[in-house]
């Protein structure tokens, strides 16, 4: 199994190559030039491993949720590589990838969605890999809620940023949180394995970012209703 993966959903970007269970990962330092370093780093990664793009089983990318521009960078690059080399694409939820770093088998992922909101998802391990109990959501930290049962491991940037706004009953059931963890390309590649094995890869033209936050502007009618101008 050979999978190339890209994860640029936050300022700590990385790329990875999975070769028969082993992963090699490279981080892209510096927030401003992810986009300039991304393809050259992928090229070097492939060259060092002696792997041709065409021999890959899939191109995987962290689909989000996360920074919109970063999601499109990863998606656009995955689309381009996949179309040129005739490969399938594995869009992987970045929160699920982050959950792979969580300790325990009940993991609650919450990342900073900016604009005073949080992306979150509750995951349970199944055959050693996290599975989301429901699609990720975007909400103010005050609205975060854990599934009914048990203790959970908290992971993600939201805990450091919004610790004072997350409900106490959530924090009480979480225990210590892994606040510094970020989604990693190596984990994106690991999660892509099950899509390859399950025949669930998608064509480049179907691969899309997972924005979760879908309301990004007000229509003219909505602005007028709020007393604004057309």
């Amino acid at each position: 199994m050979k999978i190339l993966s890209i994860e640029t959903s936050c300022e700590h970007a990385s790329v990875a190559l999975l070769l028969d269970g082993e992963t090699v990962e490279r981080t892209l330092e510096g927030h401003s030039n992810h986009s300039e370093r991304l393809l050259p780093t992928l090229k070097t990664l492939l060259a060092e491993a002696g792997v041709a793009l065409g021999s890959l089983d899939a191109v995987a990318f962290g689909a989000g949720p996360g920074a919109f521009t970063g999601l499109r960078l990863a998606c656009g690059v995955a689309q381009g590589l996949a179309m040129g080399a005739d490969l399938g694409v594995a869009p992987i939820c970045s929160l699920e990838a982050l959950a792979l770093q969580g300790r325990g088998d009940s993991i609650y992922v919450a990342t900073d969605a900016r604009m005073g909101e949080v992306y979150s998802a509750a995951c349970r391990l199944s055959h050693g890999l996290p599975v989301m109990l429901a699609p990720p959501t975007c909400c103010p930290p005050e609205m975060l809620a854990l599934p009914a049962e048990g203790r959970w491991t908290g992971i993600g940037s939201a805990f450091a940023v919004y610790g004072d706004r997350i409900p106490q009953e959530v924090l009480d059931r979480l225990g210590p949180q892994q606040q510094d963890a970020v989604p990693r390309a190596a984990d994106v590649a690991r999660l892509a394995v099950r899509l390859v094995e399950g025949g669930a890869l998608v064509a480049a033209e179907v691969a899309a970012p997972l924005y979760v936050r879908d309301k990004v502007a007000l229509t003219t009618a909505e602005r007028l209703a709020r007393g604004g101008r057309a």
């Binding site: 793009l53 919109f68 998606c75 656009g76 690059v77 689309q79 179309m83 480049a204 033209e205 990004v216």
Partner: protein
């Protein structure tokens, strides 16, 4: 040599295949006008989202219509700027990755160079040198063009672009988005002369433009006590008259000052019928000639990008193989160099 062209700088996704010997093999534009209409203008984030949703499928469609496979593509050209950063990044990410994966050169192209060279794609193309009037929703510029990549800025708008003034004026008199073309249609039913609108910078002595004062004058009319909505057609006619007066006068003056006899008009406003009539009449009188792109290539499209890329590659430009996804939301056209020049 076959070049795949990709355009995603604003609210139109364009893809084309241009063959240096056979010409344009195919092209298609997906317009986002309907998407942005309910917002009253282009929402950059929504534009980016639509580009990435459409682009790969559009590439497949255009390749199929061109009877061309990806393996037959020799180079990729994409719009690297100027434009909306997020929208540009979609085209750049996809194009650079596709190029790396196919092992073909990838060329970042200046959006306005695409517009400026687009009349060369028509059945009766102009020869160099010429004066180019670039008029769109984002730009109003006069350039002296002596060859591919040889552009001298003669003058430009100091505030709103001409197309922007058309759109904003349309909004002021209650037309939908994008109002420019609607305003022009309304103007044809109106009678100019009722409203005294300024001709900003008509006598400034240089080749610069200003359109925001004209828009303000319209605002004063429609917010005045005597304004009646049934006068909209007449006001539209007066606005169009004023804008066309200035565009024509400056374009003619540019020909006079440069001593050139060919004028190229490109960009969305270049489709304006009154502008074309006025320029045609005025230049014929002097023995000059105006060249326009084919009507379908007036707005943003991938064909002009594929063509500009092909011309540069044919002229010896060596594209870097850096695979850097890098866009230039602000990028002066005069900063370009001729292919092969240091």
């Amino acid at each position: 040599m076959r070049v795949l062209g990709i355009e995603s700088s604003c609210d139109e996704t364009g893809v084309a295949v241009f063959d240096v010997e056979a010409g344009l093999l195919g092209h298609c534009v997906h317009s986002q006008i309907d998407l942005h209409a309910t917002y009253g203008g282009v929402v950059p984030e929504l534009a980016s989202r639509d580009h990435i949703r459409r682009l790969p499928a559009l590439v497949r469609q255009v390749l199929a219509e061109s009877g061309c496979s990806l393996a037959q593509i020799d180079a990729i050209a994409y719009t690297a700027g100027p434009g909306l950063a997020g929208a540009l990044l979609v085209g750049a990410s996809y194009a650079e990755a596709l190029g790396m994966s196919l092992g073909v050169p990838v060329l970042p192209v200046h959006h306005l160079e695409g517009h400026l060279l687009s009349p060369l794609l028509s059945a009766d193309p102009p020869e160099f040198p010429f004066v180019a009037l670039l008029v769109s929703g984002g730009h109003t510029q006069l350039m002296q063009v002596t060859g591919v990549g040889e552009y001298v800025l003669l003058g430009e708008s100091l505030d709103d672009a001409a197309g922007e003034a058309f759109d904003k004026t349309a909004k002021l008199i209650g037309l939908g988005y994008p109002g420019g073309p609607q305003l022009a249609r309304l103007a044809e039913r109106g009678h100019p002369g009722r409203f005294r609108l300024p001709r900003p910078m008509l006598k400034s002595g240089d080749l610069d433009f200003s359109f925001s004062g004209l828009k303000t004058a319209v605002l004063n009319v429609v917010s005045g006590p005597e304004w009646k909505p049934e006068d909209a057609a007449d006001l539209a006619a007066d606005f169009q008259d004023a804008a066309v007066d200035v565009l024509c006068a400056k374009a003619l003056k540019a020909l006079e000052l440069t001593g050139l006899s060919r004028l190229v008009v490109a960009g969305g406003v270049g489709a304006n019928r009154q502008l074309r009539q006025r320029l045609d009449v005025a230049t014929r009188r002097k023995g000059w000639r105006v060249y326009y792109p084919e009507p379908e290539l007036c707005t943003d499209n991938g064909a002009m990008i594929a063509f500009a890329g092909a011309r540069r590659l044919a002229a010896g430009e060596v594209p870097g193989m850096a695979c850097a996804v890098k866009v230039h939301p602000r990028w002066p056209l005069a900063a370009l160099r001729a292919p092969g020049a240091a």
